[in-house]
C-alpha cells in the first residue's frame, strides 16, 4: 500500500468522496463539492470559450488583423448586452436571429443529407446478397425502419393495417430503447468503476489496474 503524496490526487480523492456522500443524503460536504463544481465548470467554460471561440473567430480578425468585415458579428455580439437596458432590451433578439438564421439555413441541406439521404440509402435493399443471413438482416432492417416511421406518422389513425404495422414499429422501438438503456447503465457503471479504481489505485495504492 503506497498512499499518494501528490496533493492534487488528495484534492481529487476528497472531492470524489464528498460527492459519494450524497448516497447517504444531501449534506453540507456534498453541497460544497457541488458548488465548487459549478464555479470551476463556469470559469473553465468562460476561459475555454474565450481562447477557442471568441479569440480566433472575432478578436483576432477584428482587432489584430483589422478585418472590418468582422465589425458586423462584433456589433451583433455587443447587442446581447442590450438586455441590461430595458428601453433597448428588444435588440437582444438580433444576435439570436443571426444565430438562428445561420443555424437553420445550414441545417436544412445538412439534415437532409445526413439524416434522410444517407439513412435511406443504407436501408434500401440491394440485390444480390452474398448469403441468406445478410439478406434476412437487411430485410429486418428495412421492415424495422419502415414500421418505425409509420408508427411516428400521426396524420392517419392507427387502426386496421396501419395499426398492425405501427404495433410492429413499437416492438422495434422497444428493442432500441432497451439496447440504449443497457448501454447507458453500463456506461455509468464504468464511470463508477473508474472512480473506485482511482480511489483504490492512485490515491490509496491498494489496487493497481494492469
Amino acid at each position: 500500500m503506497h498512499i499518494s503524496t501528490d496533493p492534487w490526487v488528495w484534492v481529487a480523492a476528497i472531492l470524489t468522496l464528498a460527492i459519494f456522500t450524497f448516497l447517504y443524503k444531501d449534506n453540507p460536504l456534498f453541497k460544497f463539492a457541488e458548488h465548487l463544481f459549478v464555479g470551476v465548470a463556469t470559469g473553465y467554460g468562460l476561459v475555454i470559450i474565450y481562447f477557442n471561440a471568441f479569440k480566433p473567430n472575432l478578436y483576432q480578425p477584428l482587432f489584430v488583423e483589422h478585418n472590418l468585415l468582422y465589425i458586423i458579428p462584433f456589433f451583433f455580439g455587443i447587442l446581447y448586452f442590450s438586455a441590461a437596458i430595458p428601453k433597448f432590451s428588444y435588440m437582444m433578439r438580433w444576435p439570436i436571429a443571426l444565430l438562428l438564421g445561420i443555424g437553420s439555413g445550414l441545417s436544412i441541406p445538412l439534415s437532409f443529407q445526413t439524416y434522410i439521404v444517407e439513412h435511406t440509402k443504407s436501408t434500401i435493399l440491394r440485390f444480390p446478397y452474398p448469403n441468406a443471413a445478410l439478406f434476412i438482416n437487411a430485410l429486418i432492417l428495412f421492415i424495422g425502419v419502415l414500421t418505425v416511421l409509420i408508427y411516428f406518422y400521426f396524420s392517419y389513425p392507427h387502426k386496421g393495417a396501419i395499426g398492425t404495422i405501427s404495433r410492429i414499429g413499437i416492438i422495434f422501438i422497444m428493442i432500441g430503447f432497451g439496447a440504449s438503456f443497457g448501454y447507458t447503465v453500463m456506461a455509468r457503471f464504468s464511470l463508477l468503476v473508474g472512480r473506485i479504481q482511482f480511489l483504490l489505485g492512485q490515491w490509496l495504492g491498494i489496487h493497481t489496474v494492469m
Partner: protein
C-alpha cells in the same frame, strides 16, 4: 417594427443565404460559408457572457441569504479563481488551470455521473415491473446488452453474438427510423423559423 420585424428579416435573409450556398459549388459560396461559420462561432461565444452574468448575479444575490451564502461564495470564488489562473497564467499543459480541470472538474463530473448508476438501477427496477410485451422486450434487450458488454457475458456462448446482432439490426432499425424522423423535424422547424411561421423564439 424594430422589435419583431427586424429579427424576422435577419433570420429570413441569413437562413435563405445559408441554405442556397450549399447548392452552389463555387469558391465565392464556399468563402461565404466559411465567413458565416466564423461569425456564428464569434457571436455564439459572446452569448456565454450573458450566462456568466446570470451566474454571478444569481450567486451574488444568494450571498445575502444566510443558509446559502457559504455555498454561493464557494461557487463565486471557484469561478474567479479559474478566470484568474486561465486568463492570467494560460491554459496549456501543466498550468494551474489545466491541473484544476484534471484534478477538480474531471473527478467531480465523473463522480456525479457515476452516482447515476445507483439511481438508474432503482429506476430500472420500477420500469421493469411494468407488465406487457413492450416492457418485456425492453427488459430482455437491456439485460442481453448489459451482459454482452461485461466480461461475464463473454463466457456465455451466444450472448456476445446476440448482443452484436441486436445492436446491428433491430436497434439500428429503430434508431434509423427515429433519426429519419428527427431529420424531417429539423428541416420543417428550420423552414418554419426562416419563413417566420415559428416565432416563439421572439418571446412575449
Amino acid at each position: 417594427m424594430l422589435q419583431r420585424r427586424i429579427p424576422l428579416v435577419i433570420v429570413f435573409i441569413t437562413g435563405v443565404l445559408m441554405s442556397i450556398q450549399y447548392f452552389i459549388p463555387h469558391p465565392v459560396s464556399q468563402s461565404a460559408y466559411n465567413i458565416a461559420l466564423t461569425w456564428f462561432r464569434g457571436v455564439a461565444s459572446m452569448a456565454y457572457a450573458i450566462a456568466v452574468i446570470s451566474f454571478v448575479r444569481h450567486h451574488s444575490r444568494r450571498l445575502k441569504q444566510p443558509q446559502n451564502s457559504f455555498y454561493s461564495a464557494v461557487a463565486l470564488a471557484a469561478f474567479l479563481f479559474m478566470c484568474i489562473v486561465g486568463f492570467g497564467f494560460g491554459i496549456g499543459e501543466g498550468t494551474i488551470f489545466a491541473k484544476m480541470y484534471l484534478n477538480v472538474q474531471v473527478p467531480l463530473q465523473a463522480t456525479t455521473f457515476s452516482l447515476l448508476a445507483f439511481y438508474m438501477a432503482s429506476a430500472a427496477y420500477r420500469a421493469f415491473r411494468v407488465k406487457g410485451l413492450e416492457a418485456t422486450l425492453l427488459l430482455i434487450t437491456a439485460f442481453i446488452v448489459m451482459f454482452g458488454v461485461t466480461t461475464i457475458g463473454n463466457y456465455i456462448p451466444f450472448i456476445p453474438k446476440l448482443t452484436e446482432w441486436l445492436m446491428a439490426v433491430p436497434n439500428l432499425a429503430s434508431k434509423r427510423g427515429i433519426l429519419i424522423g428527427v431529420g424531417l423535424g429539423m428541416i420543417s422547424t428550420s423552414l418554419k423559423i426562416i419563413l417566420g411561421i415559428e416565432r416563439n423564439w421572439l418571446g412575449g
